[in-house]
């Protein structure tokens, strides 16, 4: 299967770097087990992403490691997309790790957190490097299952519940993914990404892959776990969960859907629709929340909708993909940075209260999310829009209306966030948490500029207005809502999960009753 690939002479240092980028977090994790090395490992754990960062930032473009005897023929390596994802993934993990060192300073079960976190991280980084389906899936699974430990880290009742739902959805997603991948691989006649991207799997296969990864991405209806799991995790974990791990699903789409090669209009349309729904649905339910982190989680649902639009458009119109791919990538980068900064900030706010400097620090990424001109969000949205408006008839018009409206919604949601943060009573003074957060916020605002594709948007007032207008309108609406508050309906976090859960519980109870009756009858 690997024969079709270019074999290039690659220096040993490349191999070593690739292995180290994945092996180093895993080695640290194992080093946590024996009591003798535990302290050392804890100390080094925040630095676990460094080799990966080295790979992403420095290593030459054709870094490939082929291990034909591993799994179904493993190929690790970097392409442009992978490099981008690896970069923001490693960076976010680094920031979260540094933050976590302070956050967990007094935590008794530190090493447990680090263990799961390192395993998750290894999986997350591995996903970025995987160039074949089996290794991708292996890392993906490692990430998913290890993240369970992060979700339930606090051991609170909500955490168990969130963990349970997370796990159920994750397993469903993984299995569906595997089923889809089986079919895809069968159609492609190989397991390498390079094979798959130029194949035409059946719509069923594409649908399964889409849906399986959609759980991670948080597509509407598949998002149920997200608003539960992200908030209950410790703050640094939430940051990576929402910031980069959702992108692993996105990356999966980019890898295993024949984007830009074959057209799947129906699935593309469905994705576009789901993206649209997600954008507004996330906002709508998020506005009804009163927990900072839940609001952020719903915001993630909404934001992932934007990226879903991109992928949906790619499936719908393969011709647009060359434009869309960098836009989606940029959007992912931007969202990863902004969302993790917001989560880290929310953690600070929850500790120190709604102080002004905290609000200011939160406002920066919040504005970026809303797409205020000259922020990373603005760049990303502009790039995406450039691709989307080229879609065929109904979509272009629909999106032309929907995107500004979505920006308006995002603004409202962010305002809600700031308002909620503002209301937090002031507690302790500034903390060790603050420096990593602020540094990250700053870095996050700048980084997207480095990945801006060709200038996408006419630098005219119309453009600015279209970008800034919704934001402005949103701020006004937010102000009005602040002054004359409406009684918003209280929607529980996880929204639809609640009735589903009740239904399942009722079924289980009925089953148990039947069992008992059968036992008595005997």
């Amino acid at each position: 299967m690997g024969e079709t690939h270019r074999r290039t002479r690659i220096p040993a240092v490349t191999h070593a770097s690739l292995i180290a980028s994945l092996g180093w977090p895993l080695a640290l994790m194992l080093a946590l087990w024996p009591a003798r090395t535990r302290r050392l490992a804890q100390g080094l754990a925040p630095l676990a992403p460094l080799p990966a960062l080295w790979v992403a930032a420095v290593l030459s473009g054709d870094a490939v490691l082929e291990l034909p005897s591993v799994l179904l023929g493993t190929r690790l390596g970097l392409d442009a997309t992978g490099r981008l994802f690896l970069l923001f993934t490693a960076l976010t993990w680094l920031a979260a790790g540094l933050y976590a060192r302070a956050y967990l300073a007094h935590e008794a079960r530190r090493s447990v957190f680090w263990a799961f976190s390192l395993a998750t991280q290894a999986g997350n980084l591995g996903v970025c490097l995987a160039q074949d389906l089996a290794s991708f899936y292996s890392f993906y699974a490692l990430m998913t299952f290890a993240a369970y430990g992060l979700v339930v880290h606090t051991r609170s009742a909500e955490a168990w519940r969130a963990g349970r739902i997370y796990l159920v959805m994750a397993v469903l997603g993984e299995l569906t993914l595997v089923a889809g991948l089986m079919m895809t691989a069968y159609a492609a006649g190989g397991t390498q990404v390079a094979d798959i991207q130029v194949s035409t799997p059946s719509p069923l296969a594409v649908g399964l892959v889409t849906a399986g990864l959609g759980v991670k991405v948080g597509l509407p209806l598949l998002h149920l776990w997200l608003p539960l799991a992200h908030p209950v995790a410790p703050v640094p974990a939430s940051a990576v969960l929402s910031g980069v791990m959702l992108k692993a699903g996105l990356l999966g789409w980019l890898r295993f859907l024949p984007l830009g090669y074959a057209a799947y209009p129906e699935i593309g349309a469905t994705l576009l629709l789901l993206g649209l729904i997600a954008m507004f649905y996330g906002v709508a339910v998020g506005l009804a929340q009163s927990d900072l982190k839940v609001v952020l989680a719903y915001s993630s649902v909404s934001q992932m909708g934007f990226m879903t639009l991109g992928v949906g458009a790619g499936l719908n119109a393969p011709g647009l993909w060359p434009v869309l791919l960098p836009a989606v990538g940029l959007y992912a980068l931007h969202h990863a940075l902004a969302k993790s900064a917001l989560f880290l900030g929310a953690g600070v706010a929850l500790k120190v209260g709604g102080r002004a400097w905290v609000l200011a620090g939160l406002a920066l990424p919040a504005l970026a999310l809303a797409g205020v001109p000259f922020t990373g969000g603005w760049l990303a949205k502009s790039a995406l829009k450039a691709g989307l408006i080229a879609l065929p008839a109904p979509w272009a018009d629909l999106l032309g209306v929907a995107l500004p409206l979505a920006a308006l919604g995002t603004t409202l949601l962010m305002s809600r966030l700031l308002w909620l943060a503002h209301r937090l009573p002031a507690q302790e003074a500034a903390q060790a948490l603050t420096p990593p957060w602020l540094a990250w916020t700053a870095a996050g605002s700048l980084l997207p500029w480095g990945f801006m594709p060709a200038w996408p948007w006419p630098m005219d007032w119309t453009g600015f207005t279209l970008a800034a207008g919704p934001v402005f309108l949103g701020l006004v609406l937010a102000f009005l809502a602040w002054r004359w508050p409406l009684a918003a309906p209280a929607i529980p976090p996880g929204d639809l999960v609640v009735p589903v859960e009740r239904l399942l519980q009722a079924l289980v109870r009925a089953r148990l009753r039947l069992n008992r009756r059968a036992a008595q009858g005997r």
Partner: protein, 500 residues
């Protein structure tokens, strides 16, 4: 008698003879018995390695002895036989070590180890059987030698289990016998040959041949625990853990599955079976079993019973692989023969460790056991993920090939079966893992027998085997495409079955 004739016999004798001596040993000769056991296991391993090397080179190993005119006892150590022989031999070694630790100080050990050796003898004999008659001989020997192990504890519960076990397996044996004699009557000696030999009977015997197929498959299906012939397996779980581990998870059920492989490939020939339309019903039966076993496993609180139902489900993957017409499915099924073995034996070792160390037999009592016994639990976790089919474990690899095989065979629905099965596997394994690792341990364990000493959470004889097999689960999965992996061997066999 040439070396090539003697080597298969040596493999059989290397467990038979120690077993016979052990029977006669007084109870107190622990040391000698252990040495004999291990010596047997080691020497068997050496013989098997010699065979493996030879077969890979293309040597032919076999032996033939006439019992009645037109009825021969035939052994042949071909690639397929060696797949199973190697599995049994390696796992026998580990299980023997484990059993020595597990049964330390319990009564009737001579009897136990004697029958244990006999069981392995039966298993390797069955694996190397060169015709249906020989297969049947060892098939029944396996039944008989496992019975004393099932009832080893001598409790009424054990007796019930033993009775059910016998009722099923002997009835299965009767069906198998009928089928074999029938076929024998139709075409004389039925040797296992690549591509099968039944096709030579021609079209006028088709109806009979179909009935015979049903008889044969039902006969071996009992041991393979195909639904609805699976009822014995959960009952047989009253046996001591090493028995459940090696025999019911590996040897006995595999004997059935292996029989299906031989019958389909080397009696009927897979092309012929396909042309008669026999494979699809088999696939459906396997699929039903896969799902049903998992469903039953969901509601079991007894850990070993849950594992037993899981076995019911997992073993049918092999049958499924066989029924998927085409080399890829075959590879999946055959690889799973090995993969399921090492995964399930790990699970049973771990279950045995919980029982023996802490007195824990139920899933609901496992809370926090991971903290008390992290190594055992880690092994359990790896194997459980393997069962679910999570990459990069062995289970993933076999499921992958099965899925690909199904697609190649145009039986796309099998993917749905795999999906459902994996989901159910997750549904009954993940809660166990959750309890192991995330629940707080109780104030006291039900019956803590073995104290923890440092990192040794239990006796080292109990600890080493599951760790090694768990590592094997990872390694066989991770290095599935390596030249020495079970998968590679399965590919070799599949190539021989389909290219000749």
């Amino acid at each position: 008698m040439t070396v090539n004739e003697m080597l298969p016999l040596a493999v059989i004798a290397s467990s038979l003879l120690p077993g016979m001596v052990i029977f006669a040993l007084p109870e107190a000769r622990v040391g000698l018995r252990s040495v004999l056991n291990l010596l047997g296991a080691m020497s068997k391993l050496v013989f098997v390695i010699l065979l493996l090397e030879g077969v890979a080179r293309g040597e032919v190993y076999g032996f033939r002895h006439t019992v009645l005119p037109g009825l021969d006892l035939v052994f042949k150590a071909d690639a397929l036989a060696l797949l199973f022989v190697t599995l049994s031999t390696v796992l026998w070694l580990f299980t023997t070590i484990y059993a020595i630790g597990y049964l330390e100080g319990s009564p009737h050990r001579s009897r136990f180890f004697g029958f244990f050796s006999l069981c392995v003898t039966a298993t390797v004999g069955l694996a190397m059987a060169g015709n249906l008659f020989t297969f049947f001989v060892f098939y029944e020997l396996l039944t008989l030698s496992t019975f004393p192990l099932v009832v080893h504890r001598g409790t009424p519960q054990a007796m019930r289990g033993g009775t059910v076990y016998l009722a099923y397996t002997l009835a299965g044996g009767a069906l198998l016998l009928t089928g074999i004699v029938w076929l024998h009557g139709l075409m004389g000696q039925v040797d296992f040959v690549h591509g099968g030999s039944v096709a030579a009977l021609g079209p006028q015997a088709t109806a009979q041949i179909k009935v015979v197929f049903l008889l044969l498959i039902a006969g071996v299906g009992v041991k393979a625990a195909l639904v609805p012939l699976h009822g014995w397996l959960p009952q047989a779980m009253v046996a001591p853990a090493p028995v459940s581990a090696l025999l019911h998870a590996v040897a006995v059920v595999k004997a059935g599955a292996f029989g299906i492989v031989r019958i389909v490939y080397e009696v009927y020939g897979v092309e012929y079976a396909q042309s008669l339309g026999l494979l699809k019903p088999l696939a459906i039966a396997a699929a039903v079993t896969i799902v049903w076993g998992s469903l039953r496993a969901l509601t079991q609180d007894d850990l070993k019973k849950r594992l037993a139902y899981s076995t019911v489900s997992q073993v049918s993957y092999i049958a499924l692989g066989v029924a998927l017409f085409g080399p890829v499915g075959t590879i999946g099924g055959l690889a799973h023969l090995v993969h399921q073995g090492i995964m399930k034996i790990t699970l049973f070792f771990a279950a045995g460790n919980y029982a023996e160390t802490l007195g824990v037999h139920k899933v609901s009592e496992l809370d926090g056991a991971g903290r008390r016994m992290p190594l055992t639990s880690a092994a359990f976790t790896i194997a459980a993920f393997g069962m679910i089919g999570v990459a990069p474990t062995a289970g993933y690899v076999s499921k992958w090939y099965l899925g690909e095989g199904a697609l190649a065979a145009g039986m796309d629905w099998v993917v749905a079966v795999l999906w459902t099965s994996s989901l159910l596997n997750a549904a009954y394994f993940l809660p166990i893992l959750y309890r192991l690792w995330f629940r707080p341990p109780p104030a006291a364990w039900p019956a803590e027998h073995i104290p923890a000493r440092g990192w040794r959470e239990t006796g080292w004889l109990l600890l080493a085997p599951p760790l090694i097999t768990a590592a094997a689960v990872l390694v066989t999965g991770l290095f599935a495409e390596a030249g020495w992996s079970p998968l590679a061997w399965a590919k070799l066999i599949a190539a021989r079955e389909y290219l000749q």
